[in-house]
Every structure is written in C-alpha cells, then in structure tokens.
C-alpha cells in the first residue's frame, strides 16, 4: 500500500530542499566573475523566511510517511534552534571566505544540506530514518571540515573526523541491528512498547551502549571525545561553530528521544551510567581547557565540558532535567556563536587564532572585546547572563533527582572553568596590545554581534518565556514517576 502523506508536516524540510535546489541552479547560472556574494545573501534571506514559516508550525503534531517522520513540540523547538544557529553560521561564512571567491558557493550548499540533516534528525521517528538523517549531517560536515585544502590542519581535522565518524556510524548501525534482532522493529514507538513490557536483557543493553557511543560522538562526551580538540582547531571557524552548537544539539535531540522516550522505562539502569559519564566529561573538558593557547582549541575543550553539564540534565531523568537541557542549549546558542563570530572577525584582520594575539583587543575594537567577554563569562556561568541561569536549573534538576554528588562535581568544575575563561578576558582587557590597528567591523556584523549580546543578556534576565518554550518542548516526552 502506498502510504498516505501529510505534506503539511514535512513542509519545512521541503522548503529547505527547494531553496537548496534554487541555490544549486544559481551557482551554475551566475557568471563566474560576479563580485557580489549572491548565494550568501539569498541564504540569509531564505533563512529569515524559513524562521517566519517555522513560527506558524508551532502547534503541528503528527506522523507521516508510514511513521518515518514525526512532528512534535521537541522537533519544533530544535528546528527553530537549528535555523537560528544557521543564521550565525552563514554570516560567519560570508566573512570567513571573503578572499575565496570560487569555492565559497559550494560551501553554502553544504551548509544547507547540513541544516536539512539536522532538521530531519529532530523529526525522525524510526532508526533507519535517523541513520540517514545523521549521515546527511555528518557527511556534509566531513567535507566542510577538510575544506581548506592548503591548510595542513584542516586536512588532518577532516581525516580524523572522517575516520572516527565512520567508526561511530558503524557502532550505530550495529546497535540498531541488535535492537532490531530483539524487538523486530526499527520504529521508535514499537521499540518503546517492547521496552516498557520487558526487562533489560544483555542484548538490548549492548544495543543501547552501541547507539549511545554514536550519540556520544556527536555530543562530544568522554570517552568518545578524541576527535574534538584537533577537529575544532583545524576546521574552518564557521564549521567549528556549527559543530559546537548545531551538531551537538542534534546529538542531544537523539539523546532525549532515547532516554526520555524509547528507553524511559529502564530509567534505573542508565541513570548512574549517564551521571558517571557526565562527571568524567565535565572534568576532562575543563581540566583540558586550562592549558590551551589556541582559542578554538580552548573552546573545543570547553565544549566537551558543556556536554558534561548537559548530560546532567539527562541523568536527572525528570521533566525539569529535560527542559533544563533545552534552556541551556538556547543560551549556549547565542553565547557560543557570539564567541565564534568574534573569532572569525578577529581572524580576518589578524590571521591568527592564538590567544596571545588577543592581547589588548579592547583598544582595537571595543565591540569585539565586549562580546567576547560577555560570551566567556556567560559560558563560565556568571549572573545575570544566560549561562548562569541555564547551569542553575541544570543543577536544580540534578539535586532534585537525588544526585547531590554530581551537582557538587559540577560546581567545582564551574569554578575551574572561571579560571581559564577569565585568563582570556584578562588578555583582552588588561594586557597591552601588540599592534594598535583598529579591527574594522561592518554594519551587518555589528547587528549580529548585538543580537548575540541581547540573546545572552535577555535569556539571562527574562528567563520566563524561554523557560516556557523549553518546558513545552518536552511535554510529549515520558518521565518516570518519582
């Protein structure tokens, strides 16, 4: 039987694909020597249009394509998240590739494909579908990571990411096959039904471990984090930004679907494992970040640390924990992308990512210095910024679920992280600059930096509406009664 298809559910993905096709045609049709960056401008315009359309999709719930594709509040939340992240990433790309005229266009196309992949990950309702969606995201990221062919580090990063990514895809497939072997289905709902009526068997536990390995690779959790520092440092900065926000969030959607959906009834078995992983991950990330001299590498380690904080929410296993993950990611979006935007703008004028070259940035560009300071302080979790309140509810959820020791480790880690974030801040504000040349910041970039600042402070001060959004996003999920 041919399935009946409800096109309205999948309209956002269809629009993304249509824009992609238009951009492909334009890439071919535009004269080679055109000065204007048409693809970049159209990409941004398209994204704003899509965000407007996304707002109308809020109440949409349902499944289509024989249950392969589902739309619910969680998917809606994360699709908006990905669209907003992509606005920043595309703006960064426009700046970063200014000197490269001919190869820039393909980069936009790959970014759009990555966006499509992320949106599909959020909407997958079947493991087979999820696998294809994750591959669309990851394979386009492999290409983008190795994009700077003349740069040895970029090639090395691409190679590392490819090999470890392929390994994690292998784990994922192996896990799915074991799960299929026991439950005879790849569909989320069917597996959830099986899980709720059976005790955990070695076979399913093994499958869960394998699938978690693949998700852990995406969110950069220890012990699947080996690729992070090198890839973050070597990849073109817009890709690093996408990896640290978009790809990580995509991993967390899957994580939430696994632990707050499919495997929710085995809550008791995985809570401690997740809590232990969370503790190890945040310690590793924060201790590793202390000795870094490259800002992208530092943010790489800090991104491992943040994966650890976010895993606390999953370990808590409660509705509060799940909404804390969403809220934290929302703050992390503006904070981290603000930081990466500064890194891109700084790199264009000084061709360096070394922290020592950031000395005296405040005298060269007060706006860049201010944004970077706010971002670092928000990442560390200082009130009244977004990072503070996010950490606060994550800790609250952890304590409420009885994991007091985990909350304690997290607090120690937050103190450690203050050290290395403030060391960078000291370089920017206290140290004398090597050169006094002003770093030019164009008007659109100023606007975007402003949005990042408003996001960081706004989410930190007016938490209410954002917390509401984060909470409604997890309404459809399953939590265990206390």
């Amino acid at each position: 039987m041919f399935p009946t298809i409800d096109w309205s559910l999948i309209l956002l993905e269809l629009l993304i694909t249509m824009i992609l096709v238009v951009l492909v045609v334009l890439d071919l049709a535009l004269p080679k020597d055109t000065k204007k960056d048409w693809l970049g401008i159209l990409s941004l315009a398209g994204l704003f249009g899509l965000i407007g359309f996304w707002l109308t999709q809020r109440a949409l719930v349902g499944t289509t394509f024989s249950g392969m594709f589902m739309m619910d509040s969680l998917a809606w939340f994360f699709k908006g998240f990905f669209l907003m992240a992509m606005v920043f990433v595309i703006a960064m790309t426009q700046q970063f590739f200014k000197s490269m005229r001919s190869r820039k266009n393909e980069f936009y196309l790959l970014l759009w494909l990555a966006l499509l992949g992320m949106c599909l990950v959020a909407s997958s309702a079947d493991f087979l579908m999820l696998f294809i969606a994750i591959e669309i995201l990851t394979i386009s990221l492999y290409v983008m990571t190795a994009y700077l062919k003349s740069d040895k580090h970029s090639l090395e990063a691409g190679m590392k990411y490819l090999i470890l990514g392929a390994l994690s895809s292998g784990f994922f497939l192996y896990g799915i096959s074991f799960l299929y072997g026991t439950t005879r289905s790849t569909h989320f709902e069917a597996i959830q039904g099986f899980v709720s009526s059976h005790a955990m068997a070695p076979m399913t536990a093994f499958a869960l471990v394998l699938i978690f390995a693949a998700v852990g690779f995406k969110i950069a959790a220890v012990p699947f984090h080996w690729w992070v520092p090198d890839v973050y440092q070597g990849a073109p900065t817009p890709v690093t930004a996408l990896l640290s926000v978009g790809s990580k969030a995509a991993g967390f959607v899957v994580l939430m679907r696994l632990f707050f959906g499919i495997f929710a009834s085995w809550h008791g078995q995985w809570t401690l494992v997740l809590a232990a992983l969370s503790a190890v991950t945040m310690c590793y990330g924060n201790l590793g970040a202390m000795f870094q001299t490259n800002i992208k590498r530092l943010l790489g380690y800090s991104s491992i640390g943040h994966a650890g904080y976010l895993l606390m929410g999953a370990a808590a296993g409660s509705a509060l924990g799940a909404s804390a993950i969403n809220f934290y990611l929302l703050g992390y979006l503006f904070t981290n992308l603000g930081a990466f935007l500064v890194i891109v703008l700084f790199f264009i004028s000084s061709k360096s990512d070394e922290i020592k070259n950031y000395a005296g940035l405040v005298k060269r560009s007060p706006l860049l210095a201010c944004t970077l300071l706010l971002a670092l302080v928000s990442l560390a979790g200082v009130p009244p910024l977004a990072g503070f309140f996010g950490k606060f509810i994550l800790l609250m959820a952890t304590v409420k679920s009885g994991l007091l020791w985990l909350a304690f480790i997290a607090v120690v880690n937050i103190v450690i992280s203050l050290y290395y974030y403030l060391m960078v801040a000291k370089r920017i504000y206290v140290d004398a600059p090597h050169t006094t040349s002003i770093i030019p910041v164009s008007r659109p970039m100023r606007l975007l930096l402003g949005i990042a600042i408003v996001g960081m402070i706004g989410i930190g001060i007016f938490q209410g509406p954002f917390l509401d959004v984060a909470m409604t996003a997890v309404k459809g999920m399953y939590f265990l009664p206390k």
Binding site: P3, S140, P202
Partner: protein
Amino acid sequence: MNMPAFFFCIFAAILIFASLAVVFARNPLYNVLSLVLAIFCLSSLFMLLEAFFVGIILLLVYAGAVLVFFLFVVMLLNLNAPTFTTTEQSRFRLWGWLFGLAFLSETFLAIKSFLAAEVTQPSSIRGTIETIGQILFTDYLLPFELTSLLLLIAIFGIVSLAKGAMGTGAKAGENQ
C-alpha cells in the same frame, strides 16, 4: 547436519579467517584481497538466510566495484605498510587489544543470552528484489528518497575538494 547449516559453517569459518587476514596481513595487496574473500563469504551467508538481494548487492557493489577500486589504488600507488615507531605501535596495540577483547566478550555475552531466548524461523517474506522494492517504495519511501541527497553531498564534496588539486594546490583552486 542439514545442508544450510553445513554451508553456513564452511562460509563462516572462511569469513573469520579472511577477516583476520585483513587485519594481520602485512602487504596491503593481501589485505584487500582477503577483504574481497570476506565479502564473498558474507554474501553467501545472506543468501543462506534467503536475503538474495542483499547478497547480490554486496557482491556486485563491494566485491565488484569498491574493492576492485581499492585494489587499483593499492597497486598503482605502490603503497607500503605504514611505518610506526615501536613505542607508538606498542601503545596502540595495547589499547587495541584491550578494547577489542572487551568488545568481543560483550558481543559474546549478548549473543549467548539471545540463544537462550526463543528463536523464530525467518519470516516467509523472501528477500527478493520484488519484496524489497515494494517496501522501499511504500514504508521506507522517505529514507529512500533522502539517500539521493547523500549522493548529492558526495558529488559536492568530490567537486569542491578535488577542484584545482592537480595544480599548485589551493591557490590555483581559489583563484580560478
């Protein structure tokens, strides 16, 4: 022992030895050739499970196309075994053995527990092209269509990474 079980044992034994040879053979040429053999045995196992289509595809695509391509690369580029320093190698070896054994024992435990559970006969649906085609174009329509985008990414990737690679490197590529 009935006929399928007999063939299963033969092919599975060859498969294990071929896979070990893939890892342990020194000469890259033998690595690839043993992989071809392994794929051939694997496809036979699929045939025994009545998954004819998967078996044929495995044979055609992997053994026929991908691995022959590998073979060409290995032969044309005259690759030698990668050189590690001894300390590096022994460190990798240790971790490799450790994780490998842990993984193997875990797999063994999982499969052992499964053997005790009820084992159902393969369903009456046969893995022919017809049935697979029908499932692909009905239930699995969306994932099937999305694989076309994966191919698109592969094309973009090859074009953008290989563009200008023949010249003097990236400079030539960027200024085209």
